[in-house]
Amino acid sequence: MEKMDLLANPTNQIDSTMQSENTLVVIPAFNEEVTVGQVVTTLRHHGWKCLVVNDGSTDQTETRACEAGAVVVSHSINLGVGLALQTGFKWALQHDFSKVVQFDADGQHDSLQISRLLSAQEAFNADLVIGSRFLDSQNSNFVLSGHRKAAIELLSKIIYLKTKKKITDPTSGFRCISQPLLEQFAQNFSAQYLGDTFEANIAALEAGYSVTEIHTDMFNRQHGTSSASFLQSVRYLGRVFVISALNLNFKISRK
């Protein structure tokens, strides 16, 4: 992937007022009461408009997010991160936003890097910009257990086999999705685990949308445990194999 000098500075403090005008930061959250407040406060401090999609949390996530000043929409029942995101996309379109930045509620992502995602989006006119943890592996401080690293590399290979494009971090949850891809994802999205990331990448690439990656540093998890254990990873990978081999991944209209 290409890399531009103006994007290289990780604490690029571009005045975000222009960018924040039509950009919505969507934060899917399921039982993230400990971190979501801080995440929203930081984002709002930097001038971003945030939407927290509370995905049927049983804790104080909704209250904490509201207190911090986010717009909150709540699923009454937990539907999974994919559908929570899709709700965010639908909300964004209803309120005339043309770009959505997906951001984690657990504090893994750095709000200072949002400007870089958006700059890359403008520079490459990309429909999807992925913040990759592995694009610049020498400068990465992100620690990942062995099996997860291997799984991510495998997913990357499958994407290459299917689309002939290289995505170094196919499961990254730090992305910028812009129109017209946003509308496609609002209509069609996957509810499966890995569907929101891995499958969405394939869907966008197969339909001819431009996908760019930039390197972004991420913090190691502040709170809670990673969503997949070793056995689960194996199971999910098995599912991904079948879905990819039989071409069952979700589809969107061509650009």
């Binding site: 999609v53 000043g69 986010a70 909150v72 929409v73 009454s76 539907l79 709700t87 209803q94 309120h95």
Partner: protein
């Protein structure tokens, strides 16, 4: 010959029970009309098919099965078809359910809370 007669009676009993059971369930609103009609049709087919049990030995023999075995295969096949249809119905419901939860989320709160964002 005696065996096929017994099997015919058994099949008719099964078919009639199915019709009666689905009729009762429908009256108690435990089944929608769509599924009631499906099960009643299946009951009628079973009853009608029971007349033709005399064919069972020859067809079974042709396929290398005993008459009872052949009947069992037929029954299993029907069950597989029903299960598959149920999976399809369930999937459709699941998708509708997901959209419904999203719709409620989008329509429920946005007006009142979004003001907090506009004030900055």
């Amino acid at each position: 010959m005696k065996t096929t007669l017994q099997q015919s009676l058994l099949l008719i009993t099964g078919g009639l029970s199915l019709i009666v059971a689905s009729w009762i369930a429908s009256r108690r609103r435990l089944l929608t009309v769509r599924y009631t009609l499906g099960w009643i049709t299946l009951g009628i087919i079973t009853c009608v098919a029971s007349i033709f049990t005399s064919f069972l030995p020859s067809v079974g023999e042709f396929l290398g099965m005993s008459p009872t075995g052949f009947l069992l295969v037929l029954a299993s096949l029907v069950l597989v078809i029903v299960c598959f249809q149920l999976s399809v119905a369930l999937s459709v419901l699941q998708i509708k359910f997901h959209s419904l939860i999203q719709e409620i989320a989008l329509n429920g709160k946005d007006g009142s809370v979004s003001k907090s964002n506009e004030s900055d």
